[in-house]
Structures are given as structure tokens and as C-alpha cells.
Subunit: 237 residues, 2 copies
């Protein structure tokens, strides 16, 4: 982007008519909010009440405000719709097809977010949000299914390389739970012994010398994430 834009913008500031030609694409963000519970990966969706998409669910999204960073907009959405702060967010892709939105030209930047749905208390009811198992989601409004699939794919790519899955778990977790999260995300079964070896090498977690409670079998050791490994947080306010 360069002098061509500069001229366009300066002209736009002067000639109101021209302005319409350059400022007529709306910008939104959409959040794919992943959660994990009981060996299953979930995504948080809302009912679309748009005629065109009657009965379909959609991702949580909103237009970006003029004085708002893209990332800020995503944090705001999470805050407004779920009451959550300090959430892990990662940009994935920007979708820009001309007719992707029935009501006008809207480009959207997709983020995915990982939250501990078991222990974070969400204000789900008041915004008609619900958790759905990712593998059962077959249709969504807009191009949101494509967005969901790409975000899942990106998560799958990343999950063994970077310590991100811990955002889906409570602060203390067993190796069994950790393995289940990986299996839910990757959609495959893993060998327990090899998995533990791999995790040990990564040096992501610390043995807390405490044990699971309230399980009806031999309790597993509880681990926590090593400090200083995660920095992609940002509170909304």
C-alpha cells in the first residue's frame, strides 16, 4: 500500500462523494471459541436469526469499530457475549469473498480462542449461546463452516508444536486429561506411553505432587503448566 492509497484517502477526506468508493467495505471479526469436556472438543455457537439462515447456527462475531484494533474487537466480543477475559486468541485467516454476507460487503477476520469450559463460568444463557461438539457441526450460517474447519485445522497443526492446549484445561490436570484433549483435537487415538514420553521432552508441565480426587479408580498425578510459556493473553478491560 502506498502513495496511491494516500491520495485516495486524502481525496476521500475532501470529497464526500468519493469517500463512499473507498469506505464501503465493512470489517468484522468472527471468533471460533473452542472448549473441551469429557473427551470431546466443543465450539460455542449462537442461533442466527437472519431469514436467509433460519435455524442455522453461526459463530460469534461483530463489526470492528473505527477506533478499535482487530484484536481488541475479538476480545470485546468474547467479553460482551461470554463475560470472559484473559482468553487465548489467535488470528487465522481473513475471508473476503464478495457475496459471503447476504446483507452487504463484509470481510471478516477469523480468530480462534481456547477456553476452559468446565471451570470458567460463562454467561451463555443470556445470549442464547450453546456448546456443540465440533465433529457434529455440519452446517452453519454464512461461510462459517469453512471458517470453523480452517481454525480447527490450524489448531491441529499447532497443537504439538506450541503449548496451547492448556487453555482448554483447568490449572491442574492429569496426563490422562491432557492426552484426551490432544485426541479430541486431532481426532485420533494416541499411545499412552509414547504420548507421555513426547510431553516429557517438551518440558511444558510440572508435577505438582498432588493427586486427582473423586475418581472411582486409581487417581492420577496432577500437573500444571510451567510458568512463562504462555504470553498471548490480553484482558479486554
Amino acid at each position: 500500500m502506498s502513495e496511491k492509497i494516500i491520495k485516495a484517502l486524502k481525496n476521500a477526506a475532501i470529497e464526500k462523494k468519493n469517500r463512499q468508493d473507498y469506505f464501503n467495505i465493512a470489517v468484522s471479526v468472527d471468533c471460533v471459541i473452542f472448549g473441551y469436556d469429557n473427551d470431546e472438543l466443543y465450539v460455542l455457537l449462537m442461533q442466527s436469526d437472519l431469514e436467509e439462515f433460519q435455524g442455522l447456527n453461526s459463530l460469534l462475531g461483530d463489526l470492528v469499530k473505527p477506533n478499535e484494533d482487530l484484536t481488541e474487537a475479538s476480545f470485546r466480543i468474547l467479553w460482551e457475549r461470554t463475560g470472559l477475559q484473559n482468553v487465548y486468541l489467535e488470528q487465522v485467516h481473513t475471508f473476503g469473498k464478495i457475496n459471503r454476507h447476504p446483507s452487504g460487503r463484509v470481510i471478516t477476520t477469523a480468530y480462534f480462542s481456547l477456553i476452559d469450559m468446565q471451570h470458567q463460568q460463562l454467561n451463555i444463557a443470556e445470549h442464547q449461546l450453546n456448546w456443540y461438539p465440533v465433529r457434529k457441526v455440519k452446517r452453519l450460517a454464512f461461510d462459517h463452516l469453512e471458517i470453523l474447519q480452517l481454525c480447527l485445522h490450524q489448531l491441529q497443526q499447532k497443537v504439538m508444536e506450541r503449548p496451547v492446549v492448556f487453555h482448554l484445561l483447568p490449572p491442574l490436570f492429569s496426563l490422562r486429561e491432557l492426552q484426551s484433549v490432544f485426541e479430541a483435537i486431532l481426532g485420533i487415538e494416541l499411545d499412552r506411553r509414547n504420548f507421555r514420553k513426547k510431553i516429557a521432552i517438551k518440558d511444558w508441565i510440572i508435577d505438582t505432587n498432588t493427586l486427582e480426587k473423586e475418581v472411582n479408580h486409581r487417581p492420577g498425578k496432577l500437573y500444571k503448566l510451567k510458568a512463562g510459556l504462555v504470553n498471548n493473553f490480553r484482558p479486554y478491560q
Copy 2:
């Protein structure tokens, strides 16, 4: 994105005043165009004639038109500025900081592109474009240095996994040239024997049973990319 946007858009269509609140972010694309020549990775840059960035170079970019896909916009820029069609393009990231552009709110989606700068004939002169060795680029206008670095990083991540480097080479190339491209992108030296083994396993290239010409030493065999491996092309018109 959902009913909230719908309402906003429908209101916007009716109330002109409101419209300004939603359609006041400009959208641009910026292209990081990589080329390769003589053991060096280059990037195509233009002079910024914006006062704020006097004497600095910038990437090639432009505002996205209301009736234009993001990808189309990138292909258009490449076509308009270089005369090239059938170029490899890949979206990398969208940059949305509020003050990233001195003349107004502009979010930009970055793409990188790989072209064969030795054999494609570019209309470089007429738009004051020049090739610069990537490793020597220390400053750019706007946030373009950050964009360049992220695109390079993404290219580095991708290069061993997917057959993309071939876009930087002519249709026939020697293993020596191929290795040099990898070395230029990754910024490290590779062992010739191990490199060849790795490439052989990937099954990306075919021996054409022809030899290099006009080299003042023993000529190497020429190879070509296997058919059907590349599908991310799109002509602009």
C-alpha cells in the same frame, strides 16, 4: 458475525448518517513479492513518496475495491504493477492496528507471492519498482517491515513441507539451483547429499534427461516439477 451486523447493515442502508459509523475502515492488500537470483532471495519494493516516509521503500499494495475479492485485489496489483499473471499467492495475516497508516484507518491483508524473476519479464521501470535482497532490507514505510518478516517466516515454515519454491525457478532447473533457493530462503547452508536424499523422498521433481548449458564446469542434470502438484494459481484476467 450475526444478527447484530445484519441490523447494523440494514440500518446503514437506510440512515446515511449511521452508515459512516460502519463503513469507515478502508481495506487494503499488500503483496510481498519474493524473487530468487544467484543464491539470493529478493523482494520487490517501491519508493514511498509519502512525506512521513520520505526515502523509504514500501510493499506493493492498494485499496480493495467494493466489488473485488481480497485475492482478486492481490492479483490485480501484481498485474497492474508488474504485468504478471499466473502467480503463486498465499495469504499470511491481516494487520489491523489503529494507527498503522498515517492517513486514516486502513487494515491490510498481507499476501506473499513467489515469482521467477530471472525469466519472467516484469514492467519494473515504469512503476519505479526495484528488487532488494531480503536480508539487507532494514527499514520500510508503514508496518511493512513487520509484514515482510512475517511473510518470510511463513515461507520458511512452509518450504520443506509443500512444493512452493518451484515458483521461484524456471521450468527446468538443476539440483544445485534448487538447493540454493532453499539455502537463500532458510538462511542456512545445507549438505548436498542429504538435501538430495530429502528431495528424492518428497517425489516433487522429475529428471528430464537434459543437461545445463553454458556453465564453465561439468553441467548438472535438469529437472522439472512433477505435474499436478501446484494448484494455487489464478490468472488475473
